[in-house]
């Protein structure tokens, strides 16, 4: 029986998840912890289905997703152009880099209380926190990516009459794309970490972070676990459907990054060297 690489990958991912689930279930069933604190998977599953089918969890997930996307897209709109400018213009780099270096190590959640004072409870705070969390991975990876663009591409494009605009869109962006995509991936992960935390502190009534925090008050561990499962599911779907696909149709197809050993193409070429 020969399965396609795609199918084999899915099967393998399934095995990993099943093993983790089995481990959790063993602990939950063992009686070492109170069942109300460590609910069994069937109980979490029933809660998950109930909350999904009456729509509440979907709405919470929707609110969280909207906040993530707004903050994430805002971070891309600022981070990618700024990262490119930093790599192209020394003056911008000199101005932005010290600021970024000082702001980067501050956990986004540490800003939540400050932002609540400034903007009040609600969406503004969560979106800004997501933006803050997603900005730096986007910025730094774009900056690095542009600096790794082969100067020969710029020279060749220049010789063929490319102006600044064409260089930007047709050489620098695709040339830096392996790094930019990595930056977006990291930024998206940071966005989720930030949004859930921010919702716990700053959201009112809607959002997965709020659900988790609210469930704690009533000792609803199964609701908490169900919400975590939804976050994990969304993350997994995005990785597979959005970032994985983006990578496959761009940098993998262009040979700018290589797939893991299983897919590697046989003909390896010596690295080109300049005498």
């Amino acid at each position: 029986m020969t399965a396609s690489p795609e199918r084999r990958r899915t099967i393998r991912a399934g095995i990993t998840l099943l093993a983790a689930a089995a481990l959790y279930e063993a602990v939950a069933q063992s009686g070492l912890f109170p069942a109300v604190l460590v609910p069994t998977l069937p109980k979490v599953g029933r809660t998950l289905i109930a909350l999904l089918s009456d729509g509440t969890l979907l709405w919470h997930a929707f609110y969280t997703l909207v906040r993530v996307m707004l903050g994430f897209v805002l971070a891309i709109l600022v981070g990618v152009p700024l990262g490119i400018l930093m790599a192209r213009l020394r003056s911008v780099e000199n101005f932005v880099m010290p600021l970024a270096s000082a702001l980067m190590p501050i956990p986004s959640l540490a800003w939540v209380p400050v932002f609540i004072l400034w903007f009040g409870l609600g969406d503004t705070v969560t979106i800004l926190i997501v933006f803050y969390a997603a900005l730096f991975p986007t910025l730094l990876n774009t900056w690095t990516g542009v600096r790794t663009v082969n100067p020969l591409w710029l020279r060749a494009a220049g010789a063929m009459g490319a102006g600044e605009g064409a260089l930007f869109w047709k050489v620098i962006i695709p040339g830096a794309s392996p790094f930019i995509i990595t930056g977006l991936r990291q930024a998206f992960l940071r966005s989720w970490i930030a949004v859930v935390g921010a919702e716990m502190l700053a959201a009112s009534d809607w959002g997965l972070g709020w659900v988790i925090f609210d469930a704690k008050e009533f000792l609803n561990a199964d609701v908490m676990m169900a919400s975590l499962a939804v976050i994990g599911g969304i993350g997994y779907a995005f990785e597979r459907l959005v970032f994985g696909s983006l990578e496959r149709v761009t940098v993998l197809r262009w040979g700018m990054v290589r797939a893991a050993i299983e897919h590697r193409r046989p003909a390896a070429r010596p690295l080109p060297s300049r005498a």
């Binding site: 591409w153 020279r155 009459g161 102006g163 064409a166 262009w254 300049r274």
Partner: protein, 266 residues
């Protein structure tokens, strides 16, 4: 096609350890549709001179004119082929790479793809039009680079050791291809190489440069009829003559054998 005039061109590099005279008072006239090879040992300034003609570098003094127009930067009257295979854009197919210059000129998509395909056919790669560079061999990538440099119809083609990183057999085939392409297009070609046999095979005239500082030592016309036979007595004699001019620069007296091997099989 345009002629190239190089008048008393010098270039001094400033490096942390002082200034280096890369090109010293070079003067050359290259006729329209002439195939000129520049040979010389590493560090003789031959690539620097090519980069000056390409407009990637600005001369410290002197002047370069192409078709009577002074060179002030890179321009679409020149096509450039580099040594490094990585010069192609990995995110574009062979066709997309070749069409790039036409795209910059504002030629319509349909038109530029037709022209690009014609140029891929010129280097016999029309079957690989839709392949990405990482699926092509080194020799094929260099052929795409040649097609790309020609597609927007520059009058001058500048080539900087385009086949130095290829194996000997592929290089021979590439040289035959370049000779064919030149015959078909009649571009003015400036071709930098350190391979004497390659220069004799391709050139109408060979310029020998010497290092420290980079100077034009001598110009040697190659009058052999084309297509040239690299095994003929006359061809080998030309090679010997050139090596003699190079030899005094490249080896100590009494070691002529090393010089020949070193120069013909770099």
């Amino acid at each position: 096609m345009s002629n190239i005039e190089i008048r008393n061109v010098s270039l001094v590099y400033d490096t942390p350890s002082g200034s280096v005279q890369a090109v010293d008072d070079a003067s050359l006239n290259i006729a329209a549709s002439e195939f000129l090879c520049i040979v010389g040992p590493s560090g003789c300034g031959k690539s620097t001179l090519l980069n000056l003609i390409a407009g990637f570098l600005a001369a410290t003094s002197g002047e370069i004119k192409i078709g009577g127009m002074p060179v002030t930067g890179h321009g679409m009257d020149r096509g450039v082929v580099f040594q490094d295979f990585a010069q192609l854009f990995p995110w574009r197919t062979a066709l997309g790479n070749v069409a790039f210059g036409l795209e910059m000129k504002g030629v319509s998509k349909e038109e530029r793809e037709k022209i690009a395909l014609d140029h891929l056919a010129l280097v016999r790669l029309e079957k690989f039009a839709h392949s990405y560079p990482h699926h092509l061999s080194g020799g094929m990538q260099q052929r795409v680079a040649i097609a790309r440099a020609l597609a927007y119809n520059p009058s001058v083609l500048l080539m900087d050791e385009p086949f130095a990183a290829l194996d000997a057999l592929t290089r021979d085939a590439m040289q035959r291809l370049v000779a064919e392409v030149w015959r078909a297009t009649r571009k003015t070609v400036v071709y930098v190489t350190h391979n004497v046999a390659e220069a004799v095979y391709l050139a109408d005239r060979v310029v020998v440069m010497t290092p420290h500082p980079g100077r034009v030592k001598i110009e040697v016309p190659i009058t052999l009829p084309r297509p040239r036979d690299p095994l003929s007595v006359e061809f080998l004699q030309c090679q010997k003559d050139l090596l003699r001019h190079l030899g005094s620069e490249m080896v100590a007296p009494g070691e002529p054998e090393i010089c020949k091997d070193g120069a013909t099989q770099p």
